[in-house]
Symmetry: C2
Subunit: 339 residues, 2 copies
Amino acid sequence: MQMHNKKIGRQTVKLENPPKIIAAHSIVGPKEGEGPLSGYFDEILNDDTLGKDSFEKAESQMMFTAITETLKKAKLKETDIDYLFSGDLLNQIISSSFAAREFSIPFFGLYGACSTMSESLSLASIIMDGGFAKYVIATTSSHFSSAERQFRFPLDYGSQRAQTAQWTVTGSGAVILGHEGNYPEVTYVTTGKVKDFGQKDANNMGAAMAPAAVDTIVNHFKDTGRKPSDYDVIATGDLGIIGRELADKLIQEFGYDIRKQHIDCGEIIFDKEKQKTEAGGSGCGCSAVVFTGYLYKKLMKKEIKKLLLVSTGALMSTTSSLQGETIPGIAHAVAIEMM
Amino acid sequence: MQMHNKKIGRQTVKLENPPKIIAAHSIVGPKEGEGPLSGYFDEILNDDTLGKDSFEKAESQMMFTAITETLKKAKLKETDIDYLFSGDLLNQIISSSFAAREFSIPFFGLYGACSTMSESLSLASIIMDGGFAKYVIATTSSHFSSAERQFRFPLDYGSQRAQTAQWTVTGSGAVILGHEGNYPEVTYVTTGKVKDFGQKDANNMGAAMAPAAVDTIVNHFKDTGRKPSDYDVIATGDLGIIGRELADKLIQEFGYDIRKQHIDCGEIIFDKEKQKTEAGGSGCGCSAVVFTGYLYKKLMKKEIKKLLLVSTGALMSTTSSLQGETIPGIAHAVAIEMM
């Protein structure tokens, strides 16, 4: 059987029935709420525990809230939603699983580290485009305190932070995809490969993720025939300042200059000087809240018409790092356009 | 825009261009190789370290081997494969990420605990049916020693095992989906919801997963109009003996009797008496190797013509258990038929 193939090039599919992002919600912690994007977030928490007795429960509660609020905005019930795609940074993605058990929605759990916003959006868009669903939710979250406890040092140690270190964003973003209305559309999905260039420093994840971001962006251009100037904004997930500069340099070796279009969610979410966040923000929640808070609103106002969202993930664990393994990276790109 | 919707009922899609499972490979550890299904596995390891210096690296190497061998069987190169769907039990799914970095294949990382074989097969089947891919690989793995170290006690403690405890299977299974040839086809995908009935005992995961399995199987019957006797075999993932008995009982409350068709991969992979495996096998690798080893060969020989594979996952982490959380479960069902 010869089937019509929607794949163009090696890594990209062109969506023929582009799903629309009909609702988005962003919820962030107090520190993110004091940053440069303060005015764009839908909800800023005063208390990053949300009244829960653990940071893990607080993170899961943020995701629950983000999902609930998108449902309200879209005037939909949970039973209208065909699938929920979600993942997070915590071991066994407990933020997602514990949020998902509150909803009666078929659930696909994902792990893409900080690439999860564009991973969930990719799969949600594909399943919509294929005619398998009317409405799908894509979401992710991260929490500074649950991530620091898991990946680095107990907060109480007061360890000094490296200059290349990034600050895990406390936040969750959720979107609902549908087929109707005048909303930003997902037009292309470019799925990343795992890339590893031998970086071992868990305090410099930007350097580990930059080659993956470049690989995915370059392949997006090759597969689609597009070029940097076809986009108003190319937003990488959380390379941070160092990773963003590295990506801008690396991609020139492939003949592309993205410096005019390129912003990095990790770089713009904090004020480096005032907020002491070193290389910038990170975590699944970083590109999730910058997208659902800042970029989505710009798309809705047509201040941005063509966006390439490229969330980036560092695929290590504490075990792999202790065993001397290098840090593989991945990046997934999703083209989002407002007509 | 009114799109044709392939969703039937709340949780199921009917695949209109059913993808075929054109190759499968199973690789297991020495203990699994001594069990009742010994004759069905493609590869039995003498040394469950595979010569690596950690069990985590050994697990990743098993998955690498399973992928490589399916490619050989299908006479395909890695560049023929459009997507790789994979996940595992380890924190941040390092077995999958480290296996995936060896291949130049667009990668979607998943986390569904022990439901991962049917989760990866579900998404792979949907993406094939939607015309987004020509060939897709779905795979997962688990390793007794990496899982015990992460979830329970250091092996050296020699802790006594509870009677309800299950034995994590050392193994990996991989399949390649394609559109051509006379192979078993994936006809329906029923996606599970996260169910939590308040079970807290991490040594009795069968009881935590049984309600999720029952919920998914019941919804599969409701959505498709099928009944237990439409299947030759209904194979749950790794409920084990106790969970399997519980599921058989629970499902009768919904008016279905599946005892004639029901086998559990965790129950049949070990000989309880001889192998001292208490309630049976578990782990992502359990349903993966029972499916790719035993059930796939039975399908190819038409000794089984209609199979419902229902891998089941317990979605807890050590952190959530220590915080007193209950254990949510999930199960995904995939109908596989040999014409």
